[in-house]
């Protein structure tokens, strides 16, 4: 989904609150409840097997914008975990409210059931060095394509030797998700952000189903910024 969690390239954010090598990173947790974020979601998703990691990501993405932006990081994990346990019927909203002593705000329910991986339009896996294009899709459910690379072209640097369940399917709890490798695709900064961008590139880890092969014959335009006419 094109949610507010999809922050890559969104402008208006100020300085990152850090200076290099200034932090000892110990203790790892700063408040005594923070470890519960990961601990409880590992219990629920891992030990109980109640959900896959992509379902947790999706649950957090479904938090209202107000809640998402006001909640600290580990609180978002707690809210995502609680949302899924309620949706899976393992606990109830009432139990949470009672334990909390007030209303426990969960994420917004999904309005769709996800989707299978796009039927294989590619005759073969993509090869290292091949130019590929990210499908220009608007998917209502969970998806692991950051909006800033949609419809953009990049070069394949690596194909993983392992396959994982397609996020748009498993993210909605469908265990029949097709397993696919992912590709490390490098996009030039100017392709992503326009000609005013500084040199550099971004490499995005994309499932095979998010990519399309570029038909060399159909491609008559400049290969660097083929979608820009301005």
């Amino acid at each position: 989904m094109d949610g507010i969690h999809d922050l890559g390239g969104v402008q208006g954010f100020g300085k990152v609150a850090h200076t290099i090598n200034s932090d000892s990173y110990k203790p790892v947790f700063h408040e005594d409840w923070e470890h519960l974020g990961y601990s409880l979601t590992v219990v629920a998703g891992g030990l109980l097997g109640a959900y896959a990691t992509d379902e947790l990501r999706h649950a957090i993405e479904r938090m209202s914008a107000r809640q998402y932006f006001s909640a600290p990081y580990f609180d978002r994990i707690i809210v995502g975990t609680a949302t899924l346990l309620v949706e899976k019927g393992l606990i109830t909203q009432e139990e949470l409210d009672e334990a909390l002593g007030s209303h426990f705000q969960l994420a917004v329910p999904s309005n769709n059931g996800g989707r299978p991986a796009p039927a294989n339009a590619n005759s073969a896996p993509f090869e290292i060095g091949e130019q590929v294009e990210v499908r220009d899709e608007h998917v209502e459910g969970h998806i692991r394509v950051p909006g800033y690379c949609r419809g953009k072209r990049g070069i394949v640097l690596h194909r993983t030797t392992v396959s994982w369940p397609f996020p748009d399917t498993i993210g909605h709890g469908d265990k029949n998700a097709e397993h696919q490798p992912t590709y490390h695709v490098e996009f030039r900064a100017k392709e992503l952000w326009g000609q005013g961008a500084r040199d550099g590139s971004v490499v995005i880890d994309l499932f095979e189903g998010y990519l399309t092969r570029i038909d060399a014959e159909a491609d008559q335009s400049d290969t660097q910024t083929p979608l820009t006419r301005a």
């Binding site: 922050l7 519960l36 500084r198």
Partner: protein
């Protein structure tokens, strides 16, 4: 109405976390001692010193370096750095004119066993929003003012690959032992926002 119902929640993050803990515990979902053991793992076992040891080994052992770049998971397994969020590790090789930097623009994915849990700034909206668009500027603001001839390559952790940066071994370190070299490699170096510095040996050692 003048605002959404969730505008000001009547409870705190701490209260919510403990309420969920109570409900899950009451249901019998939480095995005795599990949270303590897992928290110990997060606080102690998963440590940037692990990734530093991997880097130092690659600096002194060309064969290991080749393995690390070809199959990061196998290389890290030699140290026992495997498991959760370490299932598919990819090492990113810096050069004098290339600086790799890791981010997760969609959430917070990180190679826990070799980098430790992601720090607050890495999970911040600011870092997630800005790094993919203005990497060099963000690095300069953080204190790493790269020369103009150094290209920044940002790796957005959007799937299941987990990255670690393999920095260039600094000059003037020929005399150093593997352990001394590892002390040059901070968490920030492994994420890629900093390059290793000789002068940081002392403070880095203190961080354990």
């Amino acid at each position: 109405m003048t605002q959404s119902p969730d505008y000001t929640p009547a409870n705190t993050p701490s209260a919510r976390a403990n309420a969920l803990l109570k409900v899950m515990t009451d249901k019998g979902f939480v095995p005795e001692g599990f949270i303590q053991a897992f928290t110990q793992k997060m606080e102690v076992e998963w440590d940037p010193a692990n990734g530093a040891r991997v880097v130092a080994r690659a600096w002194v052992d060309p064969e290991f370096r080749e393995l690390l770049l070809r199959d990061g998971t196998a290389a890290c397994e030699q140290f026992g750095y495997t498991g959760m969020q370490g299932e598919y590790i990819v090492a990113l090789e810096n050069t004098p004119t290339l600086q790799n930097v890791i981010v997760c623009s969609l959430c917070s994915c990180t190679a826990w066993p070799v980098l430790g849990l992601p720090p607050e700034w890495y999970k911040s909206f600011e870092f997630r929003a800005r790094l993919v668009r203005e990497g060099a500027t963000v690095l300069r603001e953080l204190g790493e003012d790269l020369d103009d001839d150094i290209v920044v390559k940002v790796w957005d952790t959007t799937a299941e690959s987990r990255y670690m940066v393999l920095p260039v071994r600094p000059e003037g370190t020929d005399h150093m032992s593997e352990e001394e070299l590892a002390a040059l490699v901070t968490k920030d170096v492994l994420i890629g926002i900093a390059r290793p510095r000789l002068t940081e040996l002392a403070s880095a050692s203190q961080e354990g």
